[in-house]
Symmetry: C2
């Protein structure tokens, strides 16, 4: 289970992939596989949470890293780059951004 | 604190706003205010988690609703629509999609 709070000084990567609906499942599976095989073993990895839009057009990876530095170090890892390249080839477009959690609201 | 898991049968709204950096703070504040005043009192609201990208160009609302029906009922609420219209006016572009959580990974 992943938690979101404003108290944790972490870097949140939100990577939004735009896909053809007939490739959405393959992209979800690829990201899950890449996370299990590579990402989750890298320094500073906290979590990855893979989402599929109900309209078939998006896949979103909501991922947490200990710091922006750990995230950027991952980008330089050759095996991680190979997996990201494969994901990029399945998607029409993708947009990764690091975020801070500004506020959390509950009923 | 918000939790993400594959076990909860909920609808996850991921709404990505593209903004001019000098409007990012205003949009974060507007979304937080709209959530406190309106959204969190509506039937089926579970959480809203407002993120600001570190590069200044995005605001992401990661929100959880009990069901797609509750989310769609919110879209028909006149007060909620007024707040969403104000957010839309601050942003260059926004893209709301409902999602299912496909997988959650931890170290």
């Amino acid at each position: 289970m992943t938690t979101i709070s404003t108290d944790a000084p972490i870097a949140t990567l939100i990577n939004v992939f735009t896909v053809q609906p007939d490739r959405q499942r393959a992209l979800v599976d690829l990201l899950a596989h890449a996370t299990e095989e590579v990402m989750q073993h890298l320094p500073g990895f906290i979590s990855a949470n893979i989402h599929a839009s109900t309209d078939g057009t998006k896949v979103v990876n909501y991922a947490q890293w200990r710091s922006a530095e750990d995230f950027h170090a991952m980008l330089g890892n050759p095996t991680a780059r190979t997996h990201m390249q494969q994901a990029a080839e399945l998607a029409d477009h993708y947009e990764p951004h690091l975020h801070a959690v500004e506020s959390v609201h509950h009923r």
